[in-house]
């Protein structure tokens, strides 16, 4: 007779260390567990609630400037450090870990409008309304503590005086070239006191310039004639001009998708374009209630952060038409500049109230090192939440954000206005001959024309 005996190998059931977890053997037969969807739904709901509870994005403010922060630059080669320039001509280097000034870069006589760091992280370029471009050597602050070097001042290695006030500067990725904008677009070499190249298309002031990180010879500017212009350094000529109905204050290229860029517009929206097809934006990112002042892509290319004149910072998905996160504090004023850190985990905003603010890019993320089990658990909760995000209860909790009253009201007002406009348009259409008013999608309506 054959006797069936339950046999288990001791190896499977003995722990190596007393801290190890006991192995749990499960029967994965779905017939045994018929309630798994209900269970997972409940977990998703719980995860959504927990996320809300733990959403504490604000890490700290960095104060020290005595005037509004007008621009910032991140060091592409070093995480713990951010440069900021203020309206009074002060440039500072901050340590993000201690949230203190590491050193100053005195010299500018007026508003510092543009800051940029070379790819190797050695040289800082600044420009401002005093018509000077200054190059600075970034001090090696890695081994210094913030306290001892607080009074450190660095002298510029070069000062180039030029004919017009500068509005912005950006450094090319990987090479020694940077571009400034003002009355015209100038391309500079580190070692030359005069621009090596100059572009001009139209007579209006250029507002911002950004090099494409993926395709370093390509860059784009926005100007006050409401245009976005693309340039190619290899052709040494501008390439294409796009005129919108309102001007763009800033733009940012997607670092992971070299053909795409997003422009922050005055009309509260951001527009994502494919540089090859400028006749319509790929996506309109709406949610701000006032002009968007600055935009910066996360290095992962999956989201970007915007700072607005409505005193909020928002984070959008690269293909999401509404923001997924809004950051605000009572004391934060108009936001002039925002930056994603190079590891994509933090967001820094500089605002009118002379402060820089450090935020988490994921509001409820746990800082510090996670144990593998913790990480797995978090991943599971996120996955479950993502799976059931369409169910009303989960969606309601995930979507809910508390807004400051003025923004809430302004958003309502905007909604009403847009609704009224739409209604009016519908009525006009209804009362005009069929076909006489072709329907144009919103994203196309915002573009005036594309110039060759």
């Amino acid at each position: 007779m054959k006797v069936k005996v339950i046999s288990r190998s001791t190896d499977d059931f003995t722990r190596e260390r007393s801290q190890d977890l006991q192995k749990v053997f499960r029967n994965y037969d779905p017939n045994i567990r018929s309630q798994e969807r209900a269970v997972e739904y409940t977990r998703a709901l719980k995860a959504a609630k927990l996320e809300k509870i733990f959403a504490r994005p604000f890490i700290g403010a960095m104060d020290g400037h005595i005037d509004a922060v007008s621009c910032m630059a991140k060091n592409p080669n070093h995480l713990n450090g951010i440069f900021s320039g203020s309206v009074d001509g002060d440039i500072r280097l901050w340590s993000l870990t201690s949230r203190k000034t590491v050193c100053h870069f005195p010299g500018h006589q007026g508003n510092v409008r543009g800051l940029s760091v070379s790819t190797d992280g050695e040289t800082l370029v600044s420009c401002g309304t005093d018509s000077t471009v200054r190059l600075w050597t970034v001090p090696d602050y890695r081994n210094k503590s913030a306290g001892e070097s607080a009074g450190n001042a660095v002298a510029p290695i070069a000062v180039y005086v030029w004919k017009h006030a500068f509005w912005d500067v950006d450094h090319q990725w990987g090479q020694n070239i940077f571009a400034t904008v003002g009355a015209q677009v100038d391309i500079w070499d580190h070692d030359r006191s005069e621009p090596v190249n100059t572009f001009k298309w139209g007579n209006d002031t250029f507002i911002s310039v950004r090099f494409n990180p993926g395709e370093p010879d390509l860059f784009a500017t926005t100007s006050s004639d409401r245009s976005i212009i693309l340039y190619d350094l290899r052709m040494s000529s501008p390439a294409r001009k796009l005129i919108m109905k309102t001007r763009c204050n800033s733009l940012s290229w997607n670092p992971m998708e070299p053909m795409n860029f997003t422009a922050a517009n005055e009309d509260t929206n951001c527009y994502s374009y494919d540089a090859r097809k400028l006749d319509e934006p790929k996506c309109v990112h709406a949610d701000h209630v006032s002009a968007v002042m600055d935009i910066d892509y996360s290095p992962t290319g999956r989201e970007f952060v915007t700072g607005s004149y409505d005193r909020t910072v928002r984070i959008f998905n690269y293909n999401g038409d509404h923001s997924k996160e809004i950051y605000h504090t009572k004391r934060m004023q108009r936001v002039f500049c925002v930056k994603y850190t190079c590891d994509g985990s933090y967001v820094i905003s500089g605002s009118d109230d002379t402060n820089l603010r450090l935020w988490k890019a994921k509001a409820s993320e746990q800082l510090g090192i996670l144990l593998p089990r913790e990480r797995r658990k978090q991943e599971y909760l996120d996955a479950v939440k993502d799976r059931y995000k369409h169910l009303p209860e989960v969606r309601r909790i995930v979507r809910h954000r508390h807004l400051p009253k003025p923004i809430y009201k302004a958003a309502n007002l905007r909604r009403t206005m847009i609704g009224a406009e739409r209604k009016k348009d519908q009525r006009r259409r209804a009362h005009s001959a069929p076909g006489s008013m072709p329907v144009q999608p919103f994203r196309k309506r915002r573009i005036i024309r594309e110039e060759e």
Binding site: E36, L218, D232, S236, S237, M256, A275, L367
Partner: protein
């Protein structure tokens, strides 16, 4: 604007300007401008000879060389050799009218050694030509002056002087006879034949003749720039498009990995040890000692030997390991056993154990004389001690107290304990030789075996019953006393106790009766034997049909009542009938029609069922007695007697049901049969009804369909409520007197009609409108609503796909650990603190599968690739989702 002016000024300078192609004109001009500026700074420039205007060149059928200074030099040579050309003054220079701006001539000389940069000349260079002309003019002026001077001196006409140099020039150039024929370039070249550089020149000429020579007119600047920009845009567009497959792959990937291959700079212990340098005194000393080369050498040599000696075969190690494991497990088992035994609280067990131990000890005595001796000494010692202290002779405080209270008042345990003690004393004080005697405590179990032995007969049974009876009586007597103090003296407690006691008393009484009954039966059985057959019929019931049944019942004989009840439904129809009959008869009892029957039955049972207590106990009692007796019958009686037993069974069951009837009238089964009863004919021509008939009859009372309809109507009314009927409300809607005449006002009736119609329509639209036997509730369940998405979520196009995507659970308690990572992996995996660089170009096969491309990406851990297949199959919906989400950017 200022700059522009400057540029124009520069334009007047002697400079060669050319643009390669019309498309790049703008940038080139810029370059030129810059260059010219630089040149100006240099301040020196070569003075070049006059240039032929392009129109002229065209005429003679050659094109200016496109580039190259050397060529140019050659060209200059050539022109020098061939002829001189004097051009007319340009219009602006002549100043005939004021059509042109007056511009000062900024002429200055360039040094001889100045080398022109490789800027070829072109048609654009009007300024240069002007310069050339200026030179020419100057020369001309000089000559004129000279002639005039000669004229004034010699008095000859000016012609004589004028012609001379010209003639020279012409003569030097032209030789031979030519009249009407056009001069070709070859004609001009011929005289040079044989000179140095001729072949070169010839070759060059040949080349020029081959090349196309049309040059278009320049486009306006705006157009030109536009074209340039267009080209630039097209070019950069093409350049950017190369990223497309890469971007597409990243977008379609379910997960993007960043910063996977980062070296965090953690060293191994060996690496750290190798880099260790002695710092403290002690360390230095140690290093000195260890670092001596001889020691090192010795260690090196010896070390190997030692290592070799250390070698142990694998088998040995395994054996040793196995041995150790076995010993360990044995030890462990022993430990566990000891623990288990220690945990056992049973006193009997320990007693037995002790005895066993003693037994073994005594057996050991026989074996080993040495130990036996020792043990004997020990025993002797104990005996002496016992005799001295009399410890076990009821001398302890406890024993004294108990004895004082009287042994009778104690419970069994105490009594046995006392007895034990005495016994121990006896044992201890006994002489050594008589120690081995066993105790005789295990007789008690004998009785039990008697009970169960199959061979026992009625006598034994009656004995037991008597015993039980006695005991019950005793217990009843014992229970009388009630504590008069403490909590139990409280009135309500007292009441409760009394109630309890009453109940117990009742029970006891019942049990007694039952014993008596069974005893009586036993006696009866014994006495009457087969004569009971007459009795079994229970003629009182007039059971004519009972007789043929009996043999049938034979094989069911051993059934207890419970079994019988169950059998009713599934057994043969005949049996069923019998059963029914029995029931009928029993059910007949309460009917008023057969008062007399009832009376008789009651009388019949009167002596037996004197006091039917609670139904259950009664049943159990009967059951117990019957079944008990049954096993006896099985044991030693013949089948004929079995039949009797069965009869008795039936009888008791019927009796039982009669009793029920009396106790509780609401037994449903009896009610059920009521209808049947009435139709039951007493005549002999009774036929078996068919199954359908039976069922119909059985459910004759309740109209299920009607009930369902009513229920459905209720549901409908609840979900679509019926409008209220219009009632006459005096003065409502119309004046009363009118109302009285006309009845209910039309407004109200119309409204009612409308509401009714509406309801009818609503009812028609219901899903269960045409389903007669179904109710489909259309009430919205708010709780269930929460578990459904309102609309189909964005990337999905069909409900099924969406459902499918959330069908499989992803949690760790539903999936094996291997697949969990893949199921739960987020869309972006990155590490905080690791800088993410922008995308780098790599070639991606646009038509290649994703899996392959992922491998080439190499940002994956090898482990993931190993499970790629399984992951793929599991993650299919997710991948699709990601693709949909990523591939198509949502549009507004």
């Amino acid at each position: 604007m200022e700059k522009k002016n400057k540029m124009e000024k520069h334009g007047r300078m002697k400079a060669h300007r050319v643009s390669k192609t019309p498309n790049f004109r703008k940038s080139d001009t810029k370059k030129k401008k810059k260059k010219s500026m630089k040149e100006m700074k240099g301040g020196r420039r070569e003075k070049s000879g006059p240039h032929l205007p392009s129109s002229f060149l065209k005429e003679i059928g050659i094109q200016k060389p496109i580039s190259n200074s050397s060529d140019q030099v050659e060209g200059d040579d050539e022109s020098d050799d061939l002829y001189e050309y004097v051009e007319k003054l340009p219009e602006e220079e002549r100043k005939e009218n004021r059509r042109f701006d007056q511009v000062e001539n900024y002429d200055y000389e360039l040094p001889e050694e100045f080398e022109d940069e490789d800027v070829p000349s072109d048609e654009e260079d009007d300024g240069e030509e002007d310069d050339g002309e200026d030179d020419e003019e100057e020369k001309g002026d000089d000559a004129e002056k000279h002639v005039r001077m000669l004229q004034s001196i010699t008095g000859l006409p000016a012609k004589a002087f004028e012609d001379k140099p010209r003639k020279d020039a012409v003569l030097s150039d032209i030789h031979g006879d030519f009249g009407q024929e056009k001069i070709s370039i070859n004609d001009l070249l011929d005289p040079l034949h044989g000179t140095t550089g001729y072949s070169k020149l010839r070759k060059r000429l040949h080349q020029l003749e081959k090349a196309p020579m049309a040059i278009q007119a320049p486009l306006p600047k705006v157009e030109k720039e536009k074209l340039e920009r267009k080209v630039a845009y097209e070019q950069s567009k093409k350049d950017i498009t190369k990223w497309e497959p890469l971007v597409k792959r990243n977008r379609e990937a379910p997960t993007l990995f960043f910063g996977e291959k980062i070296n965090l700079g953690v060293n191994t212990v060996g690496a750290i040890a190798a880099g260790h340098e002695p710092r403290t005194e002690f360390e230095k000393k140690m290093a000195e000692l260890i670092g001596v080369p001889e020691i090192r050498e010795a260690q090196k040599n010896d070390g190997f030997k030692i290592l070799e000696l250390n070698k142990v075969s694998i088998e040995d190690v395994r054996d040793r390991q196995n041995y150790l494991a076995k010993m360990r497990s044995l030890l462990f088992r022993h430990e566990m056993k000891a623990k288990h035994i220690k945990n056992i609280k049973s006193k009997t067990y320990h007693r037995i154990l002790k005895k066993q131990r003693q037994k073994t000890a005594s057996s050991e005595i026989n074996v080993d004389p040495e130990e036996a001796k020792e043990l004997a000494i020990k025993q002797e010692f104990k005996r002496a001690e016992e005799r001295m202290t009399l410890k076990h002779k009821n001398s302890s405080k406890w024993a004294k107290r108990i004895l004082k209270r009287g042994l009778k008042a104690q419970d069994d345990g105490t009594r046995t304990a006392i007895a034990d003690q005495l016994h121990q004393h006896a044992l201890l004080t006994r002489k050594m030789n008589s120690m081995n005697e066993n105790s005789s405590s295990d007789e008690s179990t004998n009785d039990d075996s008697d009970y169960l032995s199959p061979g026992s007969d009625n006598e034994g049974v009656s004995k037991i019953l008597n015993k039980a009876k006695n005991k019950t009586i005793k217990a009843m007597e014992d229970e009388d006393e009630i504590p008069k103090s403490g909590v139990f003296s409280l009135p309500f407690m007292e009441r409760g106790l009394k109630k309890q006691k009453d109940a117990a008393f009742e029970e006891a009484r019942l049990a007694l009766e039952e014993y008596e009954l069974s005893l009586g039966k036993l006696g009866e059985d014994d006495e009457t034997g087969p004569s009971t057959e007459i009795k079994t019929g229970r003629r009182v019931f007039g059971g004519i049909k009972l007789q043929p049944v009996r043999p049938n019942m034979n094989h069911n004989g051993s059934d207890s009542e419970g079994d019988f009840e169950i059998r009713e439904e599934e057994d043969l129809p005949k049996v069923e009938i019998v059963q029914q009959d029995v029931h009928i008869r029993s059910a007949l009892v309460p009917d008023d029609d057969i008062e007399t029957g009832q009376e008789t039955i009651y009388k019949e049972f009167g002596d037996i069922v004197k006091n039917p207590g609670s139904k259950t106990t009664y049943d159990v009692a009967i059951f117990a007695s019957d079944s008990w007796r049954k096993c006896k019958q099985m044991g030693d009686k013949n089948p004929s007697e079995n039949v009797k037993a069965v009869d008795d069974n039936i009888a008791t069951s019927s009796r039982d049901s009669v009793g029920d009837e009396y106790n509780s009238d609401s037994e449903s089964e009896l009610e059920m049969v009521d209808g049947f009863l009435s139709s039951d004919p007493k005549s002999d021509d009774y036929k078996l009804p068919s199954q359908d008939d039976l069922i119909r009859r059985a459910f004759a009372g309740d109209d299920v369909e009607m009930e369902f309809e009513k229920e459905k109507m209720d549901v409908l009314n609840e979900e679509n409520p019926q409008p209220e009927k219009p009632v006459l409300l005096p003065g409502w809607g119309q004046w009363t007197h009118i109302q009285r005449k006309k009845g209910i006002p039309s407004v109200i009736t119309e409204e009612h009609e409308r509401a009714k119609r509406k309801r009818d329509e609503a009812l028609k639209k219901r899903k269960d409108a045409h389903l007669k036997h179904v109710i489909i509730s259309e009430k919205i369940d708010k709780k269930a609503e929460k578990l459904h998405a309102n609309t189909l979520p964005f990337p999905y196009t069909s409900k099924d796909v969406y459902e499918q995507s959330i069908r499989m659970p992803i949690g760790p308690d539903y999936n094996p650990a291997i697949s969990i990572g893949a199921l739960n992996r987020p869309a972006v995996v990155k590490r905080t603190g690791v800088i993410i660089k922008p995308i780098k170009y790599e070639d991606v096969d646009p038509h290649g599968k994703y899996e392959e491309s992922k491998v080439t990406k190499t940002t994956h851990k090898p482990k993931k690739n190993k499970h790629a297949e399984s992951k793929k199959s599991i993650q299919k919906p997710m991948t699709k989702k990601a693709k949909l989400a990523g591939g198509k950017v949502s549009r507004k």
